[in-house]
Amino acid sequence: MTLPYPPNTAVMNLPRRDAKDKLLGRTRYTVDESSHGMLHAAARRSETASGRIVKIDVTPALSMPGVKAIATREDAPGLHGIGIADHPLFAKDVVRYHGEPLAVVAATTLAQARAAAAAILVEIDPIAPILTMAEALAKDAPLIHPDWASYEILREGAARGGNIAWEATVVRGDTDAAFARDDVILVEGTYRVGRQSHVPFEPRAVVAAYEDGRFHIHTSTQVPWTVRHVTAKILGVPEAAVHVTVPAVGGGFGLKFDCSLEPFAAILARKTGRKVSLVNSRREEQMTCLSRENADILIRSAVTPEGDIVGREATVLMDCGAYGGEQVFLTTMTAHTLGGNYRLGSVKIASQAVYTNTPPNGAFRACNGVYNTFALECHTDEICKAIGMDPVAFRRRNVVGDGDIGATGQVFEGDVLGPMLDLAIDTYGPHERAKKGPDGRLYGRATTVGTWFIFVGPSSATVNLNVDGSATLVTSGVEIGSGTMVQSLPQIVAANLGIHPDAVIVKTADTDASGRDLGVGGGRTTVSIGAASQEACAEVRSKLLAVASQMLQTPQDDLVLAQGRVEIRDRPGSGTTIQTVIAQAELEHGPISGSGAFTAPGIPAMPGCAAGHFIDAIDIPVFAVHDCDVAVDPDTGKVEVLAYRVIQDVGRALNPRAIHGQIQGGVTQGIGYALHEEITINAEGAFDQTGFSSYRIPTALDTLPIDYHLYEGAPSCGPLGTKGAGEVPILNVGATIACAVANAIGTPVNALPLTAPRVLGLIDGLSSGVDLAHLSRHWHENTIAFSE
């Protein structure tokens, strides 16, 4: 589509309009909601990771002071989930993880609610919990979901069974033949990553009311329409009976990409007829965080001495915890994050979501991508060592380019990664040998590549042109902190309508006012909502210009919208103000508005390659090249990142300064993931890290100014050629730091996070490595679909 306006009119460093109130402490997040008569709720959660529920007796709690209602499993019998409906709201007959909700209490004060929740009599017969994927996949392992076969299937086509909630596979070409060639070198790598907790500063929180037979859910979410759908499903009410509104969200990072506390509050609101607030305590938020999942990864490659990857087989086990959740969907991504970087002669990939008796996992910024990139790039460096090839040269030779095919056989468009790699080396210089510095520390560097994608899918937008010449943009977009709703979207609308972005009013998400939307995540907002907004603007323009054309006696094609005016092309001052045209339009037709919609264009994959996938091919790939220098202290194992550089494929940068903010923040989160943020699960099946004192997120001293280059011009179907820029900055941070550390210490790295003790273990040669004995080196034996 040709743009009706010069694209650079949409490009600017528009400051955020919500910053002032945030700086003044006036912004009211969901956790700040309060009103007269509002009740407070608290949950009673299981302190057993696995067991049969013998008794849940709420009678003593019900008569405690201030208690208004208690909800339990009887109030929400249904199951929900992604792909498969395996998840009850409250534990039903069995508990499957430490922290699983058993009951919620609404009371006049929070203290009363907590006291009553604690007074509920709970008796659980413990069953030995399965805490690791290795245990879950062991022969004769007890089933965490014995009824798995009877669950409602929400999406067909995946192999499932035993403790494997979902399996996605890719088979393209003949890897057996490739591995059997006598000219290839076989390289095998095993990798393991732990969980990462989002720690949004605003925990999951909701205020629910039941008014006029409908639920009003005011909540801290990234996905208002998912909340609407899931709440209705769980409560067994029509979706139309659920109304979701979302104020400013105090951080999400993917954690709030799912329905969470909302149905509990909704049930209590209906029971009491009062507003009910339910907010996770920090401890609950940590202990039940839908974390970035821990994963076990095996990659085997057959590589020629010249450096061609003729065959690759990979198995990725993703711990979904007690219920399938996001991981079911995320099994899809491995094909692209592990299989979409390099040209592969033949490839087999299995990606499985595995049940364990641990808290369910979820989505986290560049989900699945960060650890697959870590594993793949460590493996790539090990290949280079094995065949004696320079790591940058190897990557330059093999990265996907124009016309190359990805794992599932999709054809990539444009040379992007190659030139980005060249730019990195031209800008930052060739690699030098790793060395020991005069300070005794070990210095290393690495350059890595990564493939991510924009999670497109349905969005809608309405634009109302107001008599004062302002426009109101109505979407279900949520401002989670990334700035999209206050920067790129008003910039796009303003450029389309020839007005200033400040004259674009952005309605906060409200499912009663706006059309359906997949939610804010996957880097999709600028692209999907942006495209829908652009289409809505096109309708507004054509209505406006039709009237103006009559008024100015000029064909529509010769009219331009700029600075709040309709002008005759190349004759500034010749036209009239938009307000005048709107007034005329009202007389003739009524107020002007437009609506627009967008959905995934649907890039084809090679038929028959992929099974069990939610997306067979990626509509908008996003590429990243990262480069860093580290120094490792051999006495303590502490890693210092000395320089960090990002070359990011952004399509077109609408607000470069805002993208810089995302890069600085995303890389810093990645540094946390790479070095400090560790979750360990104890024998009770609970996280050891219950709050800020033990879960280590980076402080100001743990990061550095990130050098960055925004790579523009790669193909994208996004509006003005944009791609989302907020998610991808974290993609290769774990990979780059790990490769640089391996380079510095001269020992392969195969696990994250690289905490100081872990690095010291590697240096001392104490680390036993990651053997992944539960995975077969015969790829098909790891699968359900292909095992004989």
Binding site: D635, K638, T680, R696, T699, A700, L701, P757, L760
Partner: protein, 282 residues
């Protein structure tokens, strides 16, 4: 004295605090800066020391440093910064925790919280040979900090002040965290030594914190260094040989025992080289 029916009682004299502690027993706790009790002991009655005059006093002269129990980390850092013999204390008080916590947490809280294993002031003051003065119902007693830390005083008591002799020695405090800030230290080494005109270190006092439940002196290592010309390399070798004999590393969520022991030699060596550097500078 009648016991006020309140959950936070501000006393103005130490004797009142002792009286209340004796009567209320386990149901009460002394509150100094509050940064521990507000996290750990909210159901108990707080006996606040904040209104007792003089407890925040710090006096520093050529002979002695006296620090009142209610002096905060920030107060201590401000008072001793630049004093070469007290460098370990300046670092411990000025670099631990976060700026806001340093304005709240006190000397008394740092030394008297027996459940807190990573205190920074404790090893620093051990290396500086500090004495503590306690108030108990049977009167005032002064004992070495080392004795105070080693042998729990079970009777109700208030730590009143700490006394540190001034010397021409040098000291250093090295703390290891996983991040650059915001963690409790995983291991701490505080060291003080006499420096001879030829630059060699003598008469070392070495204290180790956070490795075990309580900070303590590393006498075995000190003995090995006695009357030897110590360099950071030689002391590192001694420390490496002794660490696992002399300490049992504490396993906790923030770090495992083996790691705390493994890094000790490097921390000791770092402390020695820090001291040598300041000595050259001076």
């Amino acid at each position: 004295m009648e016991i006020p029916q309140q959950s936070l009682i501000s006393v103005t004299r130490v004797s009142q605090a002792l009286d209340l502690l004796t009567r209320l027993g386990e149901t009460a706790t002394v509150m100094a800066g509050g940064t521990w009790v507000m996290r750990e002991a909210r159901e108990r009655t707080f006996i606040s020391l904040a209104e007792i005059p003089d407890l925040t006093d710090i006096t520093l002269d050529d002979q002695v440093l006296v620090v009142g129990a209610m002096a905060t980390h920030q107060d201590i850092c401000n008072a001793v910064i630049g004093a070469p013999d007290l460098a370990a204390l300046a670092t411990a008080a000025g670099k631990s925790a976060t700026p806001a916590i340093r304005r709240m947490a006190t000397l008394g809280g740092n030394l008297c919280t027996r459940d807190f294993h990573s205190a920074d002031l404790a090893p620093a003051l051990l290396a500086l040979n500090a004495k503590v003065t306690l108030e108990t119902s049977s009167g005032r007693e002064t004992l070495s900090l080392e004795d105070y830390l080693n042998t729990p005083v079970d009777r109700p008591h208030i730590l009143h002040h700490v006394t540190v002799p001034r010397t021409s020695r040098r000291s250093a405090h090295v703390r290891l965290m996983q991040r650059q800030a915001g963690d409790y230290p995983l291991a701490v080494v505080s060291l003080s030594a006499a420096i001879h005109p030829d630059g060699t270190l003598h008469d070392l006092r070495i204290a180790v914190g956070s490795v075990e439940e309580r900070a303590r002196r590393w006498h075995a290592l000190e003995a090995l260094c006695d009357d030897q010309k110590m360099t950071s390399d030689s002391i590192r070798a001694h420390a490496a040989a002794r660490a696992s004999q002399d300490f049992v590393g504490r396993d906790a969520v923030d770090g495992q025992g083996w790691y705390r022991l493994r890094v000790l030699p490097a921390l000791v060596a770092q402390a020695v080289s820090d001291i040598s550097l300041t000595a050259q500078g001076a």
